[in-house]
Subunit: 208 residues, 2 copies
DNA sequence: GAAAAATACCCCTTTAGGGGGTATTTCCAT
DNA sequence: ATGGAAATACCCCCTAAAGGGGTATTTTTC
């Protein structure tokens, strides 16, 4: 039993909207239930239309795509939201993913890849454009030329988890005084004088 | 001018090692400089062999693949390390990426996809298997059913950045006393009584 | 119109954080 | 082998932050 895949498109560019619709409906088993120009337009009817895939533009008039994701997921918890965008902004990507997007495609993605992405999303995969994948991977990569020593980095990672000096000392089997010394040295190296400032600097430079 | 792509394979399974070598050398412009069974075996000769791609198994005898990545990157800063593994362990994936892996493939990846991954890595992309991509995307997704209110979540995110109560109060334009009240309520909801315990709980449940 | 969320204030005690030092040992690289 | 970095540990000091006990008002939201 091969069920029809019900798809809703939310995209304010009418030309793109029709292009997507066309290419999806050329794929056997895929059916575009409806298209909208904004999330607000889709809002009332989404639940009744019950799509399993929502293709969502980020740059929408009114509520942005990023903010629409959690709303869509609330209405259709089982649906997969695939984000489409022209921009490749790191923060936008992470916000979209944090909000529950199943996949993230740039608009230069080929027809074949869009179809593939829908299959992927249905299979629990995480479709991403190549560029998005590389941005995501880069976000994980830590800066290897940090002024901090190994131990200092380790301590700051624990600080970033909200741990207190004595908790750090216990976990590392060293004295509280030693932790204090390390933190003093770290502050001197980073030219800061508080945990939050130190963490800010380290996160900016992707050290932790 | 199409330069030959120099590739080194570090993989302890001889059968897989030969399979990879074969499939890579079938690709015009790709050349397998050498194969090793462990990082230790490769260590001395890597710099001289100067590969631009290192295919690295994670499960190696001696130094693990994860720990080998930063060492390889140190010797060959411009090389792209592509990790190959049978396991799909979240922590292992993140450690490998944090250590500088350009891509991450599972060993069930088809020959064509391995070749594609090498091209991708060279082009600055971030090749990933579908399964890896979905694990990575899931890691970004925040849990939407959290006991915390919006404001409480916001405050705990700031706590997770090492911010003090008065810094939080200033940034949110509310009184210190209000922040204290929120944090007291949060601790009650989470059944904890310290910042670090609260953060531990929230990170476990992917709230922040 | 009731419930949940956000705001704000009072009391109190303990602990953590940050800055000033100095000193020893261990380890790595030239 | 030796000099410098890293890691360890201790002393002093003071201020600020954290946490726990309350109560109460306003604003949102369903």
């Amino acid at each position: 039993m091969q069920k029809t895949v019900r798809i809703v498109i939310i995209e304010d560019d009418e030309i793109l909207q029709h292009a997507y619709k066309q290419l999806i409906e050329d794929e056997p088993g895929f059916y575009v239930v409806n298209c909208y120009n904004s999330f607000e337009a889709a809002e009332k009817k989404l639940v009744a239309e019950d799509p399993s895939i929502v293709l969502l533009d980020i740059e929408l008039p009114g509520i942005s795509g990023v903010n629409a994701i959690p709303l869509v997921k609330k209405m259709l918890p089982k649906a997969h939201v695939i984000v489409l965008t022209v921009y490749e902004l790191e923060d936008q990507i992470f916000s979209a993913l944090a909000n529950g997007a199943a996949g993230y495609l740039t608009k230069d993605t080929s027809s074949a890849k869009i179809i593939e992405a829908i299959y992927d999303a249905r299979g629990g995969g995480g479709p991403m454009s190549k560029k998005i994948a590389s941005i995501v991977i880069k976000s994980f990569q830590k800066n290897s030329d940090s002024p901090l020593s190994k131990r200092e980095t380790e301590i700051m990672r624990m600080v970033s988890e909200g741990k207190k000096r004595n908790e750090i000392a216990e976990e590392l089997f060293i004295e509280l005084e030693t932790v204090k010394t390390h933190i003093k040295n770290i502050y001197a190296k980073l030219n800061v004088n508080s945990r939050s400032d130190a963490l800010k600097v380290l996160k900016q430079h992707r050290v932790i």
